[in-house]
């Protein structure tokens, strides 16, 4: 009987895959970098929403993530130029596709950089202007604060991958490649 009860406990509570839900917290930011021959354009959004299910207790051999979409409204991006921010809405067709969305599909811990800070590989899909593209990037997972998870990564793509014609300023075109820094803080739900 005792063995049966123990079996029930082991079956119901497999700690290895008991993922907790973490919600995006204040301090998170998504930053895009677009390059024009005459200047760099940097736009930041600090209004990020989303959740992931993550098993911080089994971080050392964890290879997974279950995530809801991480989203930022295009109107929340600020590049210190109101005219430019308005133009960005036009280029990404924000009326039809009001958010930039990232859906994580897998994360793989690769090594420990320092205590509670891990190098990882992050895979997911990025949705911009109604186009979905696979993104695989190096990420850093910081569990220095056990109640606050931090995931940082940089993604690189081309504007034309998402059907965005590189905009021009005074008839000089911006460069096609752009980068996106994602710096997310999560707290347990």
């Amino acid at each position: 009987m005792k063995k049966l009860l123990l079996l029930c406990v082991l079956l119901v509570f497999p700690s290895r895959v008991w993922a907790e839900t973490w919600t995006v917290d204040a301090g998170s930011a998504v930053t895009y970098y677009v390059h024009h021959p005459m200047h760099e354009v940097v736009g930041v959004s600090k209004d990020i929403k989303g959740e992931i299910a993550f098993n911080a207790a089994a971080i050392s051999d964890f290879t997974g993530v279950a995530g809801k979409p991480i989203q930022a409204d295009w109107t929340s991006f600020d590049s210190d130029n109101g005219n430019r921010d308005q133009n960005v809405l036009k280029f990404v067709e924000a009326r039809q596709y009001p958010t930039i969305t990232f859906v994580p599909i897998a994360i793989r811990i690769e090594s420990e950089k320092s205590p509670n800070i891990y190098r990882a590989k992050l895979a997911g899909h990025l949705y911009v202007k109604g186009i979905k593209k696979k993104m695989v990037s190096d990420a850093t997972i910081d569990l220095s604060d056990p109640n606050r998870l931090r995931i940082r990564t940089r993604m690189e793509r081309k504007l034309t991958d998402f059907g965005i014609e590189p905009p021009s300023l005074l008839f000089i075109k911006t460069k096609d490649p752009f980068e996106m820094d994602i710096d997310l803080f999560f707290v347990k739900k």
């Binding site: 119901v12 005459m38 997974g64 109101g82 308005q86």
Partner: protein, 227 residues
């Protein structure tokens, strides 16, 4: 008791087994909640696009149906007008440069007796540049003034406010330059021309204003370019 215990364990434990080890062939766990499910054969870390999800089932690929509002139309009109404003402003800058070059040549001929250019042709070219640059500039100015405005204000000084501030400099010089040039030409060709000193002062002022205005216009363009 035993069958009941086994039954309870199976019911409670079954979900754990369902989600416990959904690994793909690469040994990576990839379960996505509330998002399109991936086919296990696709390595999530490869850059191969996953074609298993149907676009119609993917909520993030569906456009939002929006009604075009007056503000959207205003913004579209503003965007188009400012694009034309850029084009006419660049044309005005180039034509104004031609005006300056020919004006400098004329000034050198009149005041330093330079003889390396035909005075009549240079004068005609200067007038043509003056009329065309004035037309291009006026068009650019009207487009900027009449383009719909937006209420989003930037705190402090930014490129756009600097751009607008410089407009007062190149705008005022561009409006005055043709009149000063015409007055100067009329006075010098009249039966009672002014003294050489006065004539030279008017021409010097005309040339200096031309350079100052052109510099302000070029600066206004740079503020937008390098912001």
């Amino acid at each position: 008791m035993k069958p009941i215990a086994i039954f309870v364990a199976a019911v409670l434990g079954l979900p754990s087994f369902l989600f416990a080890d959904a690994r793909d062939m690469s040994g990576n766990f990839s379960l996505v909640q509330d998002a399109p499910i991936l086919v296990a054969e696709v390595d999530p870390f490869s850059m191969d696009e996953d074609e298993s999800t149907v676009a119609a089932d993917d909520p993030f690929l569906q456009p939002v149906q929006v009604e075009v509002t007056d503000e959207m139309r205003r913004y579209d009109r503003r965007y188009r007008m400012l694009k034309y404003h850029q084009g006419f402003a660049i044309a005005a800058l180039g034509l104004w440069a031609g005006q300056l070059i020919t004006g400098q040549i004329l000034y050198s001929q009149d005041n330093f007796k330079a003889t390396w250019a035909d005075s009549n042709r240079t004068r005609m070219a200067h007038q043509i540049f003056a009329y065309t640059s004035y037309s291009a500039y006026s068009t650019a100015m009207l487009l900027a003034i009449t383009a719909p405005k937006f209420d989003k204000k930037q705190a402090g000084r930014d490129a756009v406010s600097t751009h607008r501030a410089l407009a007062w400099v190149h705008g005022s010089t561009m409006m005055l330059l043709p009149w000063v040039g015409l007055v100067s030409a009329r006075l010098n060709s009249s039966t009672n021309p002014p003294s050489p000193t006065v004539s030279k002062a008017i021409k010097t002022g005309h040339l200096a204003a031309g350079y100052a205005g052109w510099g302000a216009l070029a600066g206004a363009m740079l503020t937008i370019l390098i912001d």
